[in-house]
Amino acid sequence: MLRISADKLDSLFEAIAAKQALYIPADREDGEAEYKKYVSGMKLTSRLNTLRSAKDFFFPQTEDIVEFRMDGKKIEVNDIRKECEDFVIFGVRACDARSFTILDKVYLVDPVDSFYKNRRDHGTVVTMACSRPAETCFCQTFGIDPTAPEGDCACWKAGNYYYFKANTEKGQVFIDSIAGLLEEGDTAELDSTVARTREIMKKLPLANLSTENFGGDKLNEYFNSDKWAELSESCLGCGTCTFVCPTCQCYDIKDFNTGNGIKRYRCWDSCMYSDFTKMAHGNPRLTQLERFRQRFMHKLVYFPANNNGEFGCVGCGRCLSKCPISMNIVKVMKALEDK
């Protein structure tokens, strides 16, 4: 298998960054990690994952869609889309890599979202296998193997080496582009690392969480569950869970008057917000109970109903650690199952 020794990682990054923009998860002053554009000397974080998910690369928090020039009764529409430049995201975890396939199921189905597709076409995702999962991890619940991540190209760290394997054509192109720096090597150390990680995964506190009681066929059963009132009672109605979530894909479209034209932009929206479904004549989701229910029903019931049983969660655990009141999908799943 192709590999590179850990001390040459910097030169690998340099080589990639010389050709296209490279983003790696790096440390921030407050101890969290976030994706940053690579500059010489930047180091990979030691944190398991970034605070914000990797969805930002394909579905940024805000983006301009179209511009209008208003002149009396006349309107001129300007398409301001530009072809995106090629970029590489290095070090995406297996959970986030799966989140891209989930977002694809929303944005790449007819009618294709050209803004998303543009970025997707130009981005190469290099994933990084996990070896030290956290207590909040439950990706295995959704059939994700963190020791064999998806993405265009997968990468493993074992001992003193980083190993690479292409999963897609794009990944192969990526490997070919850095082939000069890689060397063939045996995988004994890699195999033992993977085996060790698999043992750790069995010990994770959420290892036994299962989706067998969820899916599209549970719609009425769970929608009418009396558990929602209790689960949602302390929800603040903030958007933290939705904004750190790698699969939350809802957006709002808003206009901003710049004084010399109107910019129409889209931005992340949260089903937890009171104005999410508010109309001139009323709101079908009047209290936090309905909004809270919508978020979890979407991930556990509606999404699988529309996508052959695939769930809208990847078990990255971000909402578990970031919710201000520690209410999260794991607690919801356990409460709903507990009849």
Binding site: F256, T258, G259, N260, K263
Partner: protein, 148 residues
């Protein structure tokens, strides 16, 4: 920010003037043919107390380089006490803007009575000059609103 090399820069100043004193003061300076910069845009408000901190911020957002708030002298408010509240509010707001690193010379409160046409013109000249020295507002501007 380099000071003094902005000779050509003409700052946009937004002046909120209370209807009873300062706006009349501005009127008087006009009828007395006193000069003050044309780039001072006056917004008339019923009382200086009407000015919400949001107004100040939005003026900056929409391209103002300096914002000045003019009201009746303390004790002379048409509504008895409006300008006293303004004074506390704006003190705290300006202090906060300063705390965030926004140049403190971009904001000012000045009391101008209906009889002080000369003071109004002088204040505007002085304030415009102070802002001109600072250069364009970059720290509290909205890039989307920048004129292309």
């Amino acid at each position: 920010m380099q000071v003094n090399d902005n000779k050509d820069f003409q700052p946009l100043i937004v002046a909120f003037c209370c209807n009873w004193c300062s706006y009349a003061g501005a009127d008087l300076s006009g009828t007395n043919r006193l000069n003050y910069p044309t780039n001072v845009k006056i917004i008339r408000v019923p009382c200086s107390c009407r000015v919400n901190p949001m107004f100040i911020l939005r003026a900056f957002q929409r391209g103002a380089d300096g914002v000045i708030l003019c009201g009746c002298h303390p004790g002379d408010c048409h509504y008895t006490s409006g300008n006293y509240f303004t004074r506390r509010r704006m003190t705290l707001l300006f202090s906060m803007l300063d705390f965030l690193g926004i140049e403190r010379d971009r904001t000012r409160v000045e009391w101008v009575s209906a009889a002080e046409g000369a003071k109004f013109a002088a204040t505007m000249n002085e304030f415009t000059e102070a802002v001109r020295k600072l250069g364009p507002n970059r720290r509290l501007e909205d890039l989307r609103c920048r004129k292309q």
